[in-house]
C-alpha cells in the first residue's frame, strides 16, 4: 500500500507537477533518497488542509509521547514516600512541562488538526479560507513547541535540565518574577507558548472564516454537523481568550526584562492580577479542549447507534451557552485566594450554571443511543468510555464548584484526579475515538479493530487505576505538586495504585502507535464510506483528492448522505 504513505496516493492529480511519481515499480530502489527528500519537501510546503491536519495530529502525538514519559517519571518518584529518585527541581520541571505540553502542544494542536482536516470536508468546501495562513499557523505552533523544548539544552545542559521552566503550567506571579525565577526558564515558557498561541489564533481565524463563508449550497447554519458547531464555538473562544494570555505573557516579560512591575507586589503590582488574567484564559481553555471532543462524540454516537442525533437544536444551544458562560467562571480557580463571600458565591453560581448545558449534552447523547442498534466498533467503544468517564469528571467538577468544599479540595490530588477524568477520559478518549473513526477517511484503510479493542480496555483499566485513587489521596489531604511526602499520612497505598496503572496506560498507547504504523504500511483498502455514515466528508473518496470533492456537494439536510441512502424518507422533512 505505498499509496497510503503519502496520504493521497491514488488521488494525486495527474498533472501533479514536479513531484516524481514514486509509485512506479522499480523507481523506489534507485531513487529511495530522492523519494524521501521529495516527499519531505512536499509535506513541508503543503497548504492542503488535510495534510496540515495530519501534520498537526502527528506532531501532537509526538509531544503526547514526551509528556507521557514525563508523567511516568513523576509517578515513579511518588510511588513510595520520601523517595529520592528525582531531585525536587527535576520533579518541578517535569510537572511544569507535562502540564504545558499536554495543554498547549498536545490538546490544542491535535484538536485543531482534526478540525483542520474535517471542517472543510464536512461543510463541502475545497479548502480552508486561507490555506497559506493555515500552513503558517501550523509551523508557528511547531516552532513554539520546539522553542519550549529547546530550554532543555540551556545553561546547565540536559543533565541539569537546562533552563527548563519549573514554576508550573499556570506560572503564578510572583514566583515567576525575576526575583524568584532567575535564569531564562520562565522566558522560554513565555516565548514558546506565545508563539505557539499565535499559531492557534491564526487557525481560529481561519476556522471562523471558513465556516461562515465557504459552506456548500444548502448547508445552512442549522444544518451544519455538530462537530462544525463545536469548532466554531472553539474558534470564537480561542479568539476571545488567547489574546488575554498573550497580553499577560507580554506583561510578565516586561516585568522580567524591562523592570515593569505589573505583578510585583513589592512595587505596588498585584500578584492576583496574573491569576485573573491567566484564568480568564485558562478556564475557557478547558472548554477549548473539551468541546471538539464533544463534537467527535456527536458524530460518532449517531452513526454507530444508527440514529439521528437526539435534539440537534438543543445541542447547538447548549454549545453556544457553554461558550458564553465559560467566559464568566474563571474565579472559581481562585476560591482560596481570599475573595469576598459575595464573589465566591457569584462564581460558584456561574460554575453551577455551566454544568446544566453540559449535562444536557450527556442526556442527548444517551437519548441518541436509546432505541438505536448500536455497533460497538472501536470508535463507539471510545465514545461510550467517554460518556462513562466524563460523567464522573463532570460531577467532581460540580463538587469543586461548591466553594467551601473547594476550600478543602482545591490544589489537592482530588483536583488532579478530576481534570484527568475530564481531559483524558473526555478529550483523549474523544481524540482516540476520532482517530479510529476518521483514519479510513485520511488514509483509505481502517485501523485494526482487534488491536483497537486491546488499546481501549488496557488503557481504560490503567487510566482508572492511575487517576481514581487520586480522588481519595486528595480527600486524605495530599496536596498537588509535591515531589515527596511523609510516610505517616495514609497516602502510600493510593500512590502505589496510581503508579501501578501507568505501565498499563503505556501499553495501551503503544498498541495504538503500533496499530497506526502497521496499518499505514499494510492496511487493506476499506472503501470510501466504511462506517455507513451520513455527513459530507464520506461523500468523497477515501483519502479525498487534493481538491476534496469531484463536484461540489449539495446539502439537503443535516444528514445529506442519509437522504441519498434513503430517498423514500429523507431527513429534511423533520427539520
Amino acid at each position: 500500500m505505498s499509496t497510503l504513505s503519502t496520504g493521497h496516493g491514488a488521488s494525486t492529480p495527474a498533472g501533479g507537477g514536479s513531484v516524481p511519481d514514486t509509485r512506479r515499480p522499480g523507481a523506489a530502489r534507485d531513487s529511495g533518497r530522492v523519494d524521501l527528500m521529495a516527499r519531505l519537501h512536499e509535506w513541508t510546503v503543503t497548504v492542503d488542509h488535510k495534510r496540515l491536519g495530519i501534520l498537526y495530529v502527528a506532531s501532537g502525538l509526538f509531544f503526547f509521547v514526551i509528556a507521557g514519559i514525563q508523567a511516568t517519571l513523576m509517578r515513579l518518584q511518588l510511588v513510595v514516600p520520601v523517595n529520592d529518585f528525582l531531585t525536587p527541581d527535576t520533579f518541578n520541571r517535569l510537572f511544569t512541562m507535562h502540564g504545558t505540553t499536554m495543554v498547549f502542544l498536545v490538546g490544542m494542536p491535535v484538536l485543531l488538526g482534526i478540525a483542520n482536516f474535517l471542517v472543510p470536508l464536512m461543510i463541502g468546501a475545497r479548502d480552508m479560507a486561507f490555506p497559506r495562513l493555515n500552513a503558517f499557523g501550523f509551523w508557528l505552533f511547531l516552532f513554539g513547541g520546539l522553542l519550549l523544548y529547546y530550554s532543555y539544552i540551556g545553561s546547565a545542559g540536559l543533565y541539569g535540565a537546562g533552563s527548563t521552566p519549573d514554576a508550573g503550567w499556570f506560572m503564578y506571579a510572583p514566583l515567576t518574577t525575576r526575583s524568584f525565577s532567575r535564569g531564562n526558564a520562565t522566558d522560554y515558557w513565555i516565548l514558546g507558548i506565545m508563539v505557539s498561541g499565535f499559531g492557534s489564533m491564526t487557525t481560529a481565524v481561519n476556522l471562523v472564516a471558513t465556516i461562515f463563508s465557504m459552506r456548500c449550497p444548502g448547508m445552512t447554519l442549522m444544518r451544519m454537523p455538530l462537530l462544525v458547531w463545536m469548532m466554531i464555538v472553539v474558534a470564537v473562544l480561542i479568539l476571545a481568550v488567547m489574546p488575554v494570555l498573550t497580553a499577560a505573557q507580554v506583561m510578565l516579560l516586561f516585568d522580567r526584562s524591562l523592570g515593569a512591575h505589573f505583578f510585583n507586589p513589592q512595587q505596588e503590582g498585584s500578584a492576583l492580577l496574573w491569576q485573573h488574567l491567566f484564568w480568564f484564559f485558562g478556564h475557557p481553555e478547558v472548554y477549548i479542549l473539551i468541546l471538539p471532543a464533544f463534537g467527535f462524540i456527536s458524530e460518532i454516537i449517531p452513526v454507530f447507534s444508527r440514529k439521528v442525533i437526539f435534539g440537534y437544536p438543543l445541542m447547538v444551544a447548549a454549545t453556544v451557552a457553554i461558550c458564553f458562560i465559560s467566559l464568566g467562571v474563571w474565579a472559581h480557580h481562585m476560591f482560596v485566594a481570599g475573595l469576598s463571600p459575595f464573589l465566591n458565591a457569584l462564581f460558584a453560581a456561574s460554575t453551577f450554571l455551566i454544568s446544566v448545558p453540559t449535562g444536557i449534552k450527556i442526556f442527548n447523547w444517551i437519548g441518541t443511543m436509546w432505541g438505536g442498534r448500536i455497533r460497538f466498533d472501536v470508535p463507539m467503544l471510545f465514545a461510550t468510555g467517554f460518556l462513562a468517564l466524563f460523567v464522573f469528571g463532570g460531577l467532581t467538577g460540580i463538587m469543586l464548584a461548591v466553594v467551601p468544599f473547594d476550600w478543602q479540595l482545591s490544589d489537592t490530588y482530588f483536583v488532579v484526579g478530576h481534570f484527568h477524568y475530564v481531559l483524558i477520559g473526555g478529550t483523549l478518549f474523544g481524540i482516540f475515538g476520532a482517530i479510529f473513526y476518521w483514519f479510513p477517511k485520511a488514509f483509505g484503510c481502517k485501523l485494526d479493530e482487534r488491536l483497537g479493542k486491546w488499546t481501549f480496555w488496557i488503557f481504560l483499566i490503567g487510566f482508572t487505576l492511575t487517576f481514581f485513587p487520586m480522588h481519595i489521596s486528595g480527600m486524605l489531604g495530599m496536596p498537588r505538586r509535591i515531589y515527596t511526602y511523609q510516610p505517616d499520612r495514609g497516602w502510600e497505598l493510593w500512590n502505589l495504585i496510581s503508579t501501578i496503572g501507568v505501565p498499563l496506560q503505556i501499553a495501551g498507547v503503544s498498541i495504538l502507535v503500533w496499530n497506526i504504523i502497521r496499518t499505514l504500511r499494510r492496511g487493506e483498502p476499506c472503501g470510501d464510506d466504511p462506517w455507513d455514515a451520513w455527513t459530507l466528508e464520506w461523500a468523497t473518496t477515501s483519502p479525498p483528492p487534493e481538491w476534496n470533492f469531484h463536484e461540489v456537494p449539495v446539502c439537503t439536510s443535516r444528514r445529506p448522505l442519509w437522504d441519498r441512502k434513503h430517498p423514500e424518507d429523507p431527513d429534511e422533512h423533520y427539520e
Partner: protein
C-alpha cells in the same frame, strides 16, 4: 411529539439482554471506584473521628509535655475537629450524596442503553437490516432534563451560599486569639499579639500552639511568593499572598496535634513546607505563651557557641533575642522548645540539629539555608548552644 413507534422504544420492555462481558466490566470500572471512594472517605473519618481521639491526641510539646505520638498524621478532610472544617464536612457529605445519586442514575441509563440497544450478532447476520426508528428529539423530554438539573444546581447553590456565610467570617469571632501568619519559602512564621500584657511579642516558627475551645483568628501574609495555609482537620485552605492580608479562623475542639502543609506551589521545597498545630488546654497554653515570651536563655557553659553563632553568617538570617536580629529565617529564641526542624520534616534531636547545621542542603535540597562548612568543633559548639534555647 412522540409517534407510536418512538413511544414503544422509549417505554418498551427490555428484551432479554445477553450482557456482554466487556460492558459489565465498563460498569464495574466506573461504579466500583465510587463505592471505594465513599467507603474510603468513611474509613478515614472513622479513624480520625472523636472515637479514635486517643491515637491522635498528644500532650503539649516541649516544656509542656511529652513528644507527639506517632501515627498522628491524619489529614483527612473528614476528620474535622473544628467548626469551619465540620461545616465543610457536613456540606461535603451532602454534595457527595447528591452527586453520587446523579452519577448512579446517569450511568445506569447509559448502561441500559448500551445493553438493550446493542446490535445482536443474529440480527447482524440478517441481510439488509433496516435502520431503527429515527427520533429527532422531544420537547417535553428535553425540557425535563434542562429544568431538573437547573433545580438541582439551584439547591446546591443555596446550601453553598449558606455554608460560605457560616465559614467565611469577615470579622474575628468574639474572644479570638489573633495570630499573624507569614509564609516564607519554605517555612511558616507565627506572630502572637501581646496577650500577656508584658510588652513582649511572641514570635515562633513552623509550630503553632493554640488553646482548645477558643477561636483562633489568622491574618495570613507572605514574605515572598504565594503560599497556602492548610490544616484539613481545622479549616479549609487560605492563600498567603504578598501585598495582601487574608483571614481565616478555626477553633480546635480537643487537644492534639493537627498536621497540614502548604497547598499552593511555591517553588523548590513546596513539598516540605509542613504545618503543625498543637492544641492544648488553656492553662497549658498560657504557660507556653509565658515561656515563649521570656527572654532567651543565657547559659555561660555554652558561651563559646553563642559567640560563634553571632560571629558567623547565622546572625544575618536568624533572630535570637539579645544575640542577633535577622528576619530571613526562623526566629530561634526558643528553638529547643520545638519538636521538629526543617519546617516539620525531622524531629528535633541533637543529631538532626547538628546534621542540619552541617549541611541543610543534604536534608532539604534547595532550601535557602546554605551549607556553612563548619568544622566538627564549631558544629558541636553551635549545636550545644542552640539546644539550650528553651
Amino acid at each position: 411529539m412522540l409517534d407510536g413507534r418512538a413511544r414503544r422504544i422509549l417505554g418498551g420492555v427490555a428484551r432479554v439482554p445477553g450482557v456482554p462481558g466487556g460492558l459489565l466490566a465498563l460498569l464495574l470500572l466506573v461504579v466500583g471506584p465510587l463505592v471505594v471512594a465513599l467507603t474510603a472517605g468513611t474509613a478515614a473519618a472513622d479513624s480520625s473521628g472523636p472515637g479514635a481521639g486517643a491515637s491522635t491526641t498528644v500532650c503539649a510539646p516541649g516544656v509542656l509535655g511529652g513528644p507527639p505520638t506517632s501515627g498522628a498524621g491524619v489529614t483527612s478532610i473528614f476528620g474535622a475537629d473544628s467548626p469551619p472544617a465540620e461545616s465543610i464536612r457536613h456540606l461535603a457529605w451532602l454534595v457527595l450524596g447528591i452527586c453520587a445519586a446523579i452519577f448512579v442514575v446517569v450511568e445506569a441509563l447509559l448502561f441500559v442503553a448500551v445493553v438493550r440497544f446493542r446490535r445482536r450478532k443474529r440480527e447482524a447476520a440478517l441481510a439488509g437490516e433496516p435502520e431503527p426508528t429515527q427520533l429527532y428529539g422531544s420537547n417535553p423530554i428535553e425540557l425535563a432534563w434542562t429544568v431538573v438539573p437547573l433545580l438541582i444546581v439551584f439547591v446546591l447553590g443555596l446550601v453553598t451560599i449558606r455554608t460560605i456565610r457560616e465559614v467565611q467570617l469577615t470579622e474575628p469571632p468574639e474572644g479570638a486569639l489573633r495570630v499573624q501568619v507569614i509564609g516564607h519559602q519554605w517555612w511558616w512564621e507565627y506572630r502572637f499579639p501581646d496577650e500577656l500584657g508584658n510588652g513582649r511579642e511572641v514570635v515562633t516558627a513552623n509550630e503553632l500552639v493554640v488553646p482548645v475551645g477558643r477561636p483562633v483568628w489568622l491574618e495570613l501574609e507572605s514574605a515572598d511568593v504565594i503560599h497556602s495555609w492548610w490544616v484539613p482537620r481545622l479549616a479549609g485552605k487560605t492563600d498567603c499572598i504578598p501585598g495582601r492580608t487574608n483571614v481565616t479562623w478555626f477553633k480546635a475542639r480537643r487537644p492534639g496535634l493537627y498536621l497540614g502543609q502548604c497547598a499552593e506551589y511555591c517553588g523548590t521545597q513546596h513539598a516540605n513546607m509542613l504545618l503543625r498545630v498543637t492544641a492544648v488546654e488553656p492553662d497549658a497554653f498560657r504557660e507556653w505563651l509565658e515561656q515563649q515570651a521570656s527572654p532567651a536563655v543565657v547559659d555561660p557553659a555554652v558561651d563559646e557557641g553563642r559567640r560563634l553563632f553571632a560571629g558567623f553568617a547565622c546572625l544575618n538570617c536568624h533572630a535570637i533575642d539579645g544575640v542577633s536580629a535577622g528576619m530571613f529565617g526562623p526566629n530561634l529564641t526558643h528553638l529547643a522548645s520545638r519538636e521538629t526542624i526543617g519546617s516539620g520534616i525531622l524531629p528535633l534531636t541533637r543529631d538532626t540539629l547538628r546534621a542540619w547545621i552541617d549541611d541543610p542542603q543534604k536534608l532539604k535540597i534547595g532550601c535557602n539555608m546554605p551549607s556553612l562548612k563548619l568544622d566538627d568543633r564549631e558544629l558541636d559548639l553551635i549545636t550545644d548552644y542552640l539546644l539550650t534555647l528553651r
